[in-house]
């Protein structure tokens, strides 16, 4: 389905480049010398068995962990120690493996919170919530309602997210990330714990986001079927090292990948 | 919506009814007592409250009140907390009290500006704002028989006497351990002045409210500094702890002197025999041997009309409470004489206080001969700067250890005048005295 796009993607400009990144906690190595790139407009999957270092990789990309070695360039700019909010300012949004929503807030407020960076009326306008601050609030509300419509969660707008079922929470979290109008969207297991129907919905949202908004997406997913269908290119990690990188079909038949998944001793 | 309104109306009705205060019958004199039988200072508050209460009850039982008019007594619990005290005041105000005893420096300070407005005199007996001794600026506040500054000067006089002359203090060190707060800090300016005048050195050891029961560091400092004498301005749980700690570092107890609020039985008793020799100022007699106190026993305590345990009657702070009530009763009596009315008001009692004079003979008449020194309050002088005596702990009880000591009025008066003027200037718009002076009756 996406094969023709793959070659196309390879020709596009590099949005994010990871070069030779190593990360360890104390003595435990999470990542060793990993390099790959993400190109503009593609859907890039990161896969690998449990404990392969996938989430650590995402954490490195959006500045939550700082690698001991290696460099990360985003939009052609290399920064050694990027703070998470700087990543957000740069246009990297993210969802989490275990939903990291603001549980005490409504779905609407969660998604509105994603607009924080885009809102810039100062503190004193906020105090009186009149004129510019109110106008800004309404303008952003309009954008947020678009996202709510897109994700079909209008009915739960004002529900506290802590009380929502898991599948909807995942959707709200995606909405919050989308509200940031990101250039690069990192999705950490967006379909974990979902049933088939929910997975199909989520897959459609991901593809739509990619196609309509042109958002570059990097995702971690365990469901191989989903990964192979969605992604343009796949990078495979195992024990913190990269063992394969390429279009889904190539990766699928890669011997190292097969043995990693089947647990063949190295 | 209507339900909400209804609910609100109900709530307001409930609040309103709860605060509705029954009108006070005019055939009695209402004397409220702000007391604290709870909280960290309850140890001192309970005997004082008992003493005040029992003496007034005794007057009701024995004499049918004052001048034939029954006294309506009502206690209001403050827990030594200023907010609660003010709440009590606001609540009691509606019942037209003739006098208020705040029994806390904080509450006194809060009430001082209100007294003139509400026309209720305040009796803060030997506590509160020292400057309020100036009757010209504070016509509604009375703080006999002596101020803290008087007390400090008496202690130094006593020390001077023991050292063989006040000039012998030159070059000596005197330590001052005090409750960290307005109460304990007030004597410091006078202490500094006196140190300059007599050439001794002072060392200050503050004790904060949280550290009242944890004074080992202060007393280690005392051990290092080796002061010749220690003076204490303590209150509540600070007192017994200080006495114990002093004994612990082998400080000579007969060189350790407390103010009159550090002289409760419960302050020295926990240290027992170790506290032997500990001195404090006092202004009232200790013991139950006085006829009036025997009357309290007979008419009140024995009849089960008191909260006091029998063996606590006659203890120091209990008698302090009695003395407080005597002053009030005498002021009311005076007011009745001046105005010729029986059911006197707050304004009348203010005049009663301004002409208050209790001579030795009158003390005897009351049934408290030799209980306290003669006492006189005038229009200009709301304190009197009367003498006090030194009492000493003999291991089980207090015994009188000196004659009446008069304060060094020449040293105290300038400070007092300055403080009074300062208070009035700072509080812009402080009302000028308009109340006329009465002649002593």
């Amino acid at each position: 389905m996406k094969e023709p796009g793959a070659t196309e993607a390879a020709a596009r400009e590099v949005l994010l480049a990871v070069e030779n990144v190593s990360l360890s906690f104390g003595g435990v190595k999470a990542l060793t010398g990993v390099s790959f790139d993400i190109r503009k407009g593609e859907i890039r999957a990161i896969i690998g068995p449990n404990g392969a270092g996938k989430t650590s990789m995402l954490n490195v990309i959006n500045g939550f962990y700082h690698p001991q070695q290696g460099r990360i360039s985003f939009k052609g700019v290399t920064r050694n120690r990027m703070r998470p909010f700087e990543a957000a300012q740069g246009g990297i949004a993210r969802t989490f493996q275990n939903v990291a929503l603001f549980r005490g807030m409504s779905a609407l407020d969660n998604i509105m919170a994603g607009r924080t960076l885009k809102m810039n009326r100062n503190f004193f306008w906020q105090l009186i919530r009149f004129g510019p601050a109110a106008a800004e609030e309404v303008a952003h509300r309009r954008r947020v309602e678009e996202i709510i419509d897109f994700l079909q969660i209008a009915h739960i707008r004002k529900v506290q997210v802590g009380r929502l079922p898991y599948g909807l929470q995942k959707r709200v979290e995606l909405g919050r990330a989308l509200a940031m109008d990101p250039d690069l969207l990192l999705l950490d297991e967006p379909m974990a714990g979902m049933n088939l129907e929910e997975k199909e919905d989520m897959s459609r949202y991901i593809l739509d986001v990619n196609e309509h908004f042109g958002t570059t997406i990097a995702l971690i997913e365990h469901d191989m079927g989903v990964v192979m269908d969605l992604s343009d290119r796949v990078v495979v990690l195992d024990h913190g090292t990269k063992i394969a990188d390429g279009v889904p079909d190539a990766v699928k038949s890669d011997q190292a990948v097969i043995s990693a998944y089947l647990g063949v001793a190295h | 919506m209507r339900i909400k309104m209804f609910g609100a109306a109900c709530a307001m009705a409930l609040v309103g009814s709860a605060f509705a205060i029954p009108a006070q019958a005019q055939d009695s004199i209402f004397i409220p007592l702000l007391s604290y039988r709870t909280g960290p200072f309850a140890g001192s508050g309970i005997p004082i409250a008992n003493g005040m209460n029992d003496y007034l009850s005794m007057l009701n039982e024995r004499d049918g009140g004052i001048g034939g008019v029954k006294i309506a007594i009502e206690e209001c619990e403050t827990g030594y907390d200023t907010n609660k005290g003010l709440e009590c005041y606001e609540k009691l105000k509606a019942k037209k009290p003739v006098v208020i005893n705040p029994y806390s420096t904080g509450i006194t300070l809060g009430l001082i500006p209100k007294a003139a407005v509400d026309k209720i005199p305040i009796l803060s007996m030997a506590y509160g704002l020292s400057a309020s001794a100036d009757g010209n600026n504070f016509p509604w506040i009375f703080n006999p028989p002596a101020t803290y500054w008087d007390g400090l000067s008496m202690i130094l006089k006593y020390i001077g006497e023991k050292e063989g002359g006040i000039d012998k203090l030159k070059g000596k060190t005197i330590g001052y351990i005090f409750f960290e707060g307005g109460y304990g800090r007030e004597p410091i300016p006078l202490l500094e002045n006196l140190a300059k005048d007599f050439g001794f050195e002072i060392k200050l050891y503050p004790v904060t409210a949280q550290e009242m029961q944890n004074q080992s560091a202060q007393w280690l400092n005392v051990r290092r500094d080796r002061p010749a004498w220690m003076i204490m301005w303590g209150w509540g749980a600070m007192n017994p702890t200080a006495v114990k700690e002093a004994a612990k570092i082998n400080f000579p107890m007969d060189k350790f002197v407390g103010v009159w609020w550090s002289g409760g039985e419960d302050d020295a008793r926990p240290a027992g025999a170790d506290a032997k020799g500990y001195l404090t100022l006092n202004m009232n007699g200790v013991g139950a041997q006085y006829p009036a106190i025997q009357d309290i026993m007979k008419h009140v305590v024995d009849k089960g009309k008191s909260q006091t345990a029998k063996d606590k009657v006659g203890e120091n702070l209990y008698n302090r409470g009695v003395m407080n009530s005597v002053l009030m009763a005498e002021a009311v009596l005076n007011a009745q004489k001046i105005t010729g009315r029986k059911a006197v008001t707050g304004e009348d009692v203010r005049r009663g206080f301004e002409t208050l004079e209790i001579s030795a003979a009158r003390w005897k008449e009351i049934g408290l001969g030799d209980f306290a020194g003669p006492l006189k309050v005038t229009c200009a002088n709301h304190n009197g700067h009367h003498a006090a005596y030194m009492q000493q702990w003999d291991g089980t009880k207090w015994v009188k250890a000196s004659d009446w000591i008069t304060p060094m009025t020449d040293k105290v008066q300038p400070l007092l005048t300055a403080a009074s003027t300062e208070y009035v200037t700072k509080a812009t718009g402080w009302p000028k005295r308009t109340e006329a002076c009465d002649k002593a009756s």
Binding site: A100, A113, Q126 | F19, K93, G106, G110, P113, G181, K426
Partner: protein
């Protein structure tokens, strides 16, 4: 039946984001304000105004301050009492230096002093959380209490060591000091509290409120959507301390009339904390309900025996009152751990569907 929003359609986001989106709430608020501004001053006795309503309003404001910090931004602080003290002492110094300035203005301005100090003592929050942070803020509480006693400049070297409020008039009407009538003081307190509550509600419903709540609910995720934690936390400390500072200044100038350092001790901090937990964390209405409960309950309890003509010693009454308050705190926590404000919401929900159960 009466409280039903069905049929009230919102046609714009402005309407949906209004302070009171439901018509009945708007009417209710107008009625409450009318009662507070008109009926109360005309009917209530000076005891009720002085000892019940003024302190209730002042504590409500302090509770809102703490609620912004704890309920919205999730930072547990026990320095409330001290921050109130900073406001009070700042106001005292300001009115000494500028005796002719409008005292109401000075009360507000003193909030800024408190905000500055609060921000400094909020710095540990960048490093520590939860109960650890709470103990850290106790350092502020005890240190500032100590300063209030130790720096005589703060209380103009008064021998009494206390602040004594001078008479100050605004437009010729005495506002503070003994000559100010309770009604005047009440109306000023009420106005300040209403305006500041409205401002707080603006803040919490907008971007800043969402940033605070995001930090409270999950600070890591908040950082990853671009919220700068240090700024956001310190802003919460500053705004919260501002509210507490204004409340403290009002407490001394418009209520007590004089204050010893003891008025701002640790117990004050605990009192405000009780109010917001009982009232409801993260709820402005809860701050009022909590303040009414914690401040009003003991006063009500005290008058119960009197109403029924039972005579109990004042001390016994106090002991019983302690026990009842303690037991009621536990009782309400068990019944509704999310605070009385939640009960209020549930009641509204029930009204909405009445007479049907669902």
């Amino acid at each position: 039946m009466f409280y039903r929003e069905a049929g009230q359609y919102k046609t714009s986001y402005e309407a949906d984001q209004a302070t009171f989106p439901v018509l009945q709430d708007r009417i209710g608020m107008i009625v409450i304000l009318a009662v507070a501004f008109v009926v109360v001053p005309l009917t209530m006795s000076s005891f009720v105004i002085n000892s019940v309503l003024i302190p209730f309003l002042i504590f409500s404001l302090a509770a809102i301050g703490l609620n912004l910090l704890l309920g919205y931004a999730g930072q547990l602080s026990l320095g409330t009492g001290a921050f109130m003290g900073v406001g009070a002492y700042a106001c005292y110094k300001l009115t000494t230096i500028f005796p002719d300035a409008n005292i109401i203005l000075l009360i507000i301005v003193s909030g800024f002093a408190s905000a500055a100090i609060g921000t400094v003592f909020g710095l540990p929050s960048l490093r520590i959380k939860g109960f650890y942070l709470m103990v850290g803020t106790l350092a502020a509480q005890f240190f500032l209490s100590w300063c209030f006693i130790r720096i005589p400049w703060l209380y103009n070297n008064n021998v009494s060591g206390a602040i004594e409020v001078p008479t100050r008039a605004v437009f010729g009407i005495p506002v503070s000091g003994p000559n100010a009538t309770p009604v005047t003081r009440y109306l000023i307190v009420l106005t300040i509290v209403v305006v500041m509550t409205w401002i707080a509600s603006n803040l919490v419903r907008g971007r800043i409120g969402r940033m605070w709540m995001a930090v409270r609910d999950m600070d890591i995720a908040a950082e990853l959507i671009g919220i700068r934690l240090p700024r956001t936390k310190l802003l919460a400390f500053a705004v919260s301390s501002f509210y507490c500072g204004v409340a403290g200044a009002m407490m001394v100038f418009l209520w007590l009339g004089a204050a010893e350092p003891d008025a701002f001790n640790i117990n004050r901090s605990f009192l405000i904390l009780f109010m917001i937990i009982i009232g409801g964390l993260g709820s402005l209405i809860g701050s009022f309900i909590g303040a009414a409960f914690i401040w009003g309950l003991p006063i009500m309890l005290k008058s119960v025996p009197e109403t029924f003509g039972i005579s109990i010693g004042s001390a016994t009454l106090e002991h019983l009152q302690f026990m009842v308050v303690g037991a009621l705190i536990i009782f309400f926590l068990i019944v509704e751990p999310h605070g009385l404000a939640r009960l209020w919401q549930i009641a509204k929900q029930k009204l909405r569907v009445w007479p049907f159960p669902y």
